[in-house]
Amino acid sequence: MDLHLLDAEPTAEERDAVDALLGAPTSGWDGGVRDPVRDTHVAFGGHDARAQRHLLLPALRAVQSRVGWISEGALNYVCTRLTVPPADAWGVATFYALFSTAPRPKRILHVCDDIACKCGGAEELIGRIEKTIGPPHHPPTNGGPIHVGDFAWVRSPCLGLCDQAPAALLQEFGASPREEPIGSATVERLESVLSGAENSGEAAHPRAKRAGEYTLLTKRINEVDPTSLEDYRAAKGYAALARALEIGAEAVIAEVTRSKLLGRGGAAFPTGRKWDAVAKQPARPHYLVCNADESEPGTFKDRILMESDPFALVESMTIAGFATGCELGYLYVRGEYPLAFERMENAIAEARKAGLLGGSVMGRSVRFDIEIRRGAGAYICGEETALFNSIEGLRGEPRNKPPFPVQAGLFGKPTVVNNVETLMNVPHILLESGEKFAKIGTDQSTGTRLFCVSGCVQRPGLYELAFGTTAKELLELAGGLPRGKKLQTVLLGGAAGVFIRPDELDMPLTFEGTRAAKATLGSGVFMVFDDSVDLRDILVRIAAFFRDESCGQCVPCRVGTVRQEEALHRINSKKMLGGMKREVALLDEVGAAMKDASICGLGQTAYSAVESAIHRLGIYSGGAR
């Protein structure tokens, strides 16, 4: 590999952080002290060195977590250790929102100002923070003096705590870093968490509302200790894996196919077909990837599942790996989910200790293990091929398809990639049979669905419902709107979803029902807006979100998301170019270009919510406020 390194040297702290992850260097060629005899006569590198590239993200995270930012010296050292060109690594380090390549305080408070939290009073909270704490952090400008204090706060996109809006996340970097999600945030609570007097409390005990007759996915939430393997096993845990091992891989896939389970990540692809396709690929190895990079604004279901029932995900992944011929699975957890990461790490370690992962799963000649990876703040990494690139240590940019992941996914190998919720259905299917599962819900949408209810409702939270429930019923289950408020709209499916009108609430929340109504279930977001919310502000926030999260790889999305946000700003500030009609025509045209020509779903859906607000709600023609 051609490495053109910089002059900068790492500090002892930075070196320690990297060495703690990678172990000490072995020679002068990978960052250690040069041995004038051995190192001048032999060096190793090549395939083995390049195969470490996937450790780039964890190594950068190690530095960030210890020091609070990634200096050139640290980057240099990471590159020397992993044989990655610094320019390349710089591209990766600057890709993720949770990494800083400029000096920053060791304590950072991320305050969510995304759409659900906006409804929950985020702007008022931020106004008060500005008064009591001061203005938000800005990276030092080039050449300017660098003053790094002890603490700073920044605005943040959705933190996945929408059921507890407004929300914040405190990060403290150092030898023993601390991360505290803070729900129902007030200035007083923030100050008390900052002073260390209180931990976040609320977020550590996720709320799960249960409704209806089914609790396929939520039965253990708040009932079973999420840190205890013993308790999990006592609550029917690992019965499904035992059954899977007994009936064999092909029968597992047949059962999943019979259940007609569709993917819950947004694309609704039949899970059985995906598994079958990977299982039949002759190329080896196969990989399993569990997509837990839940970043769609308004979505928090996977967080609650991982925080509350982590062993179930480990078991589900093991079944999927066994069925599809994978010996290694990657679990990619969203960077903003410290508790979910901690719980999953613990569950994996416990399962490994108990012989439920590793060289002989449950004493059989079945090999399966899970590597856990943590994201670093990039919405786009929820796109499956971007996720592969992120795991491989590249920038999280989506790949062109074909080839599809089942043919050439992670590390170019056949890969089955499933969302957390999708996988968690599998144990139930195996224990109860695919046929029984298929009887729940509707003919085309089988099983239950997790809905993330947030916004202006009495009881926000996670709701598990059989497919077929209407939007109206769900709204009623959540207690309806606060007294005296009138429904303006519901956002289905998140920022990439669709606003629906109050007169459309009879829409059944099924794949086919929403599709027929030209809406989407997406990731299960059900965000309610009353008539006091200025939807024009919400649209600008959504547009800003896509502009910020676009990876910039393809032109339609990179340029289109900017043009869209500009047009919405012009409309809001009444500085329209050639009148409203022309602005809307421009938005439509830009939206169509993004939809037709973007590489991935981000660009393809970046206009979706705005479009529905314009044409469904008539937001700019007097329909909504």
């Binding site: 590999m1 051609d2 490495l3 053109h4 390194l5 910089l6 002059d7 900068a8 040297e9 002068g28 060629w29 990978d30 960052g31 002290v33 040069r34 004038p36 005899v37 051995r38 001048t40 006569h41 032999v42 060096a43 190793f44 590198g45 090549g46 395939h47 083995d48 240099n76 590159c79 020397t80 044989t83």
Partner: protein
């Protein structure tokens, strides 16, 4: 190259010196091939390798023979192939027996376990390829070095098969073509032996002239003959010996003493400046018709795109006009006429009409008739049972260190080579700006620089028994203590070849550019800045 399992680049910095070829190496690597780089320096090529074997300058045979011993002792020699297709194996086996890992480690500096692993990997691979360049051939025992590598390939049966073989990388696009056409002292076109009476008779009939029944001189022998005043007229075409040869003080003296000195070139080189007559030639890649032959023996057409500037003329035209003045009228042949005549005399090219070269995008020799598809690799004949033609001999070769060894007065070994952005003496590459151009430097190991208090960029004086010059030092972690490195790219500023030794291999005539003894001294008086710590220098040097 792209579909092999293991690649040895031996004495080759292909990443810098053969960058296009190196793309093919990288394709092989990306297809899974393991790459071993044998070089005294950890070059940019070695930085791509799975294993860099950083041997001492000139200890190649010790390494190769030790690898052979491991292969034989592990029972990995290709027994049937050796028995059927080779000769002299017993003598070879007896010779390599003394090259134990301990001895090899002592001579090469490479840990024995690393040598062993390299040998086993090469022997066990289904397909393996050894490529070499001047790190093998610019030694006083160049031919022996090459034999040592050929022996390894024969020992493991890695010749004459797809994805296997021995590959000397060529320095220009048409070095092979020069040999093909008979521009070597002992062969006529198509590598036909000029001492063979029948061959000579064939050419004499075609050319209607007499051909001397003995080989001519090679470059080294020519200079020796000049020294004896036996050679007094010289006609140089497209070569710049006044800057490219070893021990330049001597070369300058000899060229200056010629009675008649003609140079034909596309540039007014340093050599041309010394000539009595200069013929400005056309650039053969764009201003002339013809063919070239690349490293894989593929003959390809070259087409004229533009007219040569000013008075510059096609080489063929110049030679024909000289012939005319000397009393032989060639009759204004075109390039195709000359080619067709050559086809009629050299069987290996007989099937390569211009039409076929066009249609097939080039053909690999031998190509005996107009339906012959050309041959992808030589020596497949060794695998037929019994093998066709002559059996392949093992050549017993022994380790022999470079002629000039470091001593108290000249404690460093100077080795020379090339850099990515420059080409040979810079005739074609120093005239343009490149961000990579940084002029000549004396590259030195950080340990030596630290010991001598030499800072990066500081001017130093380098002295050999033949000459002395000044250049800025550059600390380079690619080097081991006791080794310094320079190039010949900037002869006008730093004439490196004033230092090099004119010891040469009597079998090939190649000079030992890769090793001579020198002394390095700082030229700044007084206090020196302390050099940076090893880690920071490693980063600068691009190690890792």
């Amino acid at each position: 190259m792209e579909e092999t399992d293991v690649i040895f680049l031996w004495g080759s910095n292909a990443r810098d010196a053969h960058p296009i070829f190196f793309h093919h190496v990288l394709k092989g690597v990306r297809n899974g091939a393991r790459l071993y780089v044998v070089d005294p320096r950890r070059t940019s090529t070695a930085a791509w390798a799975d294993v860099w074997l950083g041997l001492r300058v000139g200890s190649d045979i010790a390494l190769a023979n030790a690898m052979a011993r491991v292969i034989i002792h592990e029972g990995l020699a290709a027994g049937d192939f050796i028995k059927r297709a080779t000769t002299d194996f017993d003598a070879y086996r007896a010779c390599v027996e003394k090259y134990t890992l301990g001895y090899a480690e002592q001579e090469t500096g490479i840990p024995g376990d690393v040598i062993r692993e390299a040998a086993l990997t090469y022997a066990r691979a289904d397909r393996g390829m050894i490529c070499w360049t001047l790190g093998i051939t610019e030694h006083h025992n160049a031919v022996d070095n090459v034999f040592a590598l050929i022996n390894l390939a024969l020992l493991t049966g890695k010749v004459g098969r797809y994805g296997c073989g021995l590959n000397p990388l060529r320095g220009q696009n048409n070095v092979q073509g020069g040999g093909d056409m008979g521009a070597i002292p002992n062969r006529l076109a198509g590598f036909q032996d000029m001492v063979d009476d029948e061959v000579r008779a064939k050419f004499e009939r075609a050319w209607n002239t007499k051909i001397q029944p003995r080989p001519g001189w090679n470059l080294t022998q020519m200079f020796l003959a000049m020294d004896r005043a036996q050679l007094t007229s010289l006609y140089v075409i497209g070569e710049n010996p006044a800057q490219s040869d070893a021990d330049l003080h001597r070369i300058e003296r000899l060229l200056g003493a010629l009675d008649h000195f003609v140079v034909q070139d596309i540039f007014l080189t340093k050599t041309a400046e010394m000539a009595h007559v200069v013929f400005p030639a056309s650039a053969s890649w764009c201003e002339a018709e013809g063919t070239v032959t690349n490293s894989e023996r593929r003959v390809q057409r070259v087409r004229k795109a533009i007219e040569p500037p000013g008075d510059a003329r096609d080489d063929l035209w110049i030679i024909s006009e000289i012939a005319k003045r000397l009393g032989h009228d060639f009759g204004n042949p075109t390039a195709e006429d000359a080619w067709n005549e050559m086809r009629s005399l050299a069987p290996i090219f007989a099937g390569m009409t211009y039409a076929r070269l066009d249609a097939c995008s080039g053909l690999q020799w031998p190509c005996y008739d107009e339906v012959h598809p050309g041959q992808q690799f030589l020596h497949a004949r060794l695998w037929s049972n019994p093998p066709e033609g002559k059996l392949a001999p093992f050549n017993v070769v022994e380790h022999e260190p470079p002629v000039e060894q470091p001593d108290e007065e000249f404690p460093f070994v100077l080795t020379t080579g090339r850099r990515l952005e420059s080409f040979n003496t810079g005739v074609q590459s120093s005239g343009y700006a490149s961000p990579l151009h940084r002029g000549e430097s004396v590259d030195i190991a950080p340990e030596d620089a630290g010991r001598m208090g030499i800072a990066d960029g500081e001017m130093v004086r380098v002295t050999s028994r033949r000459g002395s010059l000044e250049a800025p030092a550059r600390i380079d972690f690619a080097l081991k203590p006791g080794l310094v490195f320079m190039t010949l790219h900037f002869p006008d500023q730093v004439p490196t070849n004033f230092l090099t030794i004119d010891a040469f291999d009597p079998k090939s005539g190649t000079a030992e550019f890769k090793a001579c003894a020198v002394r390095v001294e700082g030229v700044l008086p007084g206090e020196r800045e302390a050099v940076a710590g090893p880690y920071s220098a490693a980063l600068r040097a691009g190690g890792g």
